[in-house]
Amino acid sequence: MKLERVLPMKNLRRKPARTAALVLLSAFLALSVFGGSVMVLSLRNGLKSYESRLGADIVAVPYQARTKGSFESILLQGIPGMFYMDEKYYNKICAIDGVEAAAPQFYLASTSAGCCSVPVQIIGFDPERDFTVQPWVRERYAGELGDGDIIVGSELTVPKDGTLTFYDTPCRIVAQLGKTGTGLDTAVYTNMSTIKAMMRSAESLGFHYLTDVDPDHAVSAVMIRVAEGYDAEAVTGDINVHVRHVEASAAAAMLSSVAGGLRSVSGVIVLLVAAVWVLAAAVLSIAFALISHERAKEFAVLRVLGASRNMLSRLLLAEAAIVSFSGAAIGASAAALIVFPFGKAISAAMELPYLMPPLGTVLAIGAASLLLSTVAGALSAALSAWRVSRNDAGLLLREGA
């Protein structure tokens, strides 16, 4: 039994309310830095994934897409959108100088898909012309996508029988995609002929989504790859000038608006964490200064009994370390209980791509937060510990007598 192991614990037990308050304060240190950094990293990770999943240089949608649910809200929030234009616009886009490849996509939103009050986004693509969807379909599914086959996003629950029915069209789920952290995680992918069959079925069920376009000759969006040597911005401008009723956006511009949102959210998080740290460090230092002042006489008694100056510092530091370590452990666990189970809720609230780093990384951040908060807590007592060791026991005892 050593004094440094016994006395700090007894001192802490003696004042349970104060100890609890200090532990709670240290818990905020770990909670804020762990939670904050996981959120910032998830946002960055999400942006990367968004960038790679977009896969096109330019996206062109009908002008009305602005009002009927934008392409961005499909991507970011998974809000289904339905907007259509005649295939002739697709052909016009293909004719623009600098367009190397153009892949049409056809969007449909399910009605309550057997389960949910919120419709599911169904995306039809043409395997012949597509270059944005298939690269990541390949990660999970190597086969051909036949008629009636669908691939679902990572955030859809696959029913036991492996089929989903949209507009009376039974579909076979052949694969589930990896998580992207974007709105596409709740989407369903299929080929053009399947989605057109669904569309016809929807018409016969009384859903008239298309009023002025022939469904067989309609597209919702065109994903465009720009030929080498051409500037995406310039080609985007060309499309907007030469193809009426179509709005083209350069992917870089879409990404930079997301990146801007990410920067401001991250900025707020960093600011909050910094504020918590500054406040907590200040309060902890004051608390330990008060504790050491209050115990000045006790420290003097220990000096009289033979404690060295260093021992007194160690006693106070040990007390701070116990408080900050237990606080940090509680804080880090609390953060884990928030960021893991409620990650999806956070991501939904952010309306930004949000993709948690791998578990190992998150655990490493947790361990680092624990360490950092413990050290910070102990350091907040450092000045008091130094002062305690400078006090003159003889004089103090006379004061206290």
């Binding site: 949910c116 919120v118 989903l164 995680d185 709740t186 209980l337 189970p341 939904a348």
Partner: protein, 138 residues
């Protein structure tokens, strides 16, 4: 008769199930009904979880008034009920198909976290109150 002592563990065991019950019924409730007014299965999962939480709360209340040995029995019952409450949304009763819906993002994690904490608190109480009486010192 011994004086009734309400300790930190007793309060936690009351507070957490109460939070779970209140949460499931308010901020963490599952998805809203479909447009035609019909409910999805996650609604019933939420109801069942709330029921389990209510039962947990009732047991925690009873815990305050019974002998030490009966308390241990109730702790065990609380652990079993917590496991049930954690499994109800998603495992025993299916939730919505889209995992970004409320029932997946809020209801199920809330049930898992809070019933996990209840089970933990009950387990700690069971372990600390087990064996030799601990009030002979202090």
């Amino acid at each position: 008769m011994k004086k009734m002592r309400v300790g930190a563990r007793d309060i936690l065991l009351l507070l957490i199930p109460a939070l779970l019950l209140a949460g499931i019924l308010s901020v963490f409730q599952p998805c809203s009904p479909r447009e035609d007014g019909s409910w999805m299965s996650c609604h019933w999962a939420g109801r069942a979880t709330a029921g389990a939480a209510g039962a947990m709360l009732a047991l925690s209340l009873v815990r305050l008034f019974v002998s030490k040995d009966a308390k241990k029995g109730l702790d065990l019952a609380l652990i079993v009920l917590s496991v049930l409450a954690a499994l109800l949304p998603g495992r025993l009763i299916s939730l919505c198909m889209m995992r970004d819906m409320r029932c997946h993002t809020l209801t199920a994690p809330c049930a898992a976290v809070l019933s996990g904490l209840t089970a933990l608190a009950a387990l700690v109480d069971l372990l600390l109150s087990g064996g030799k009486g601990r009030r002979h010192e202090a």
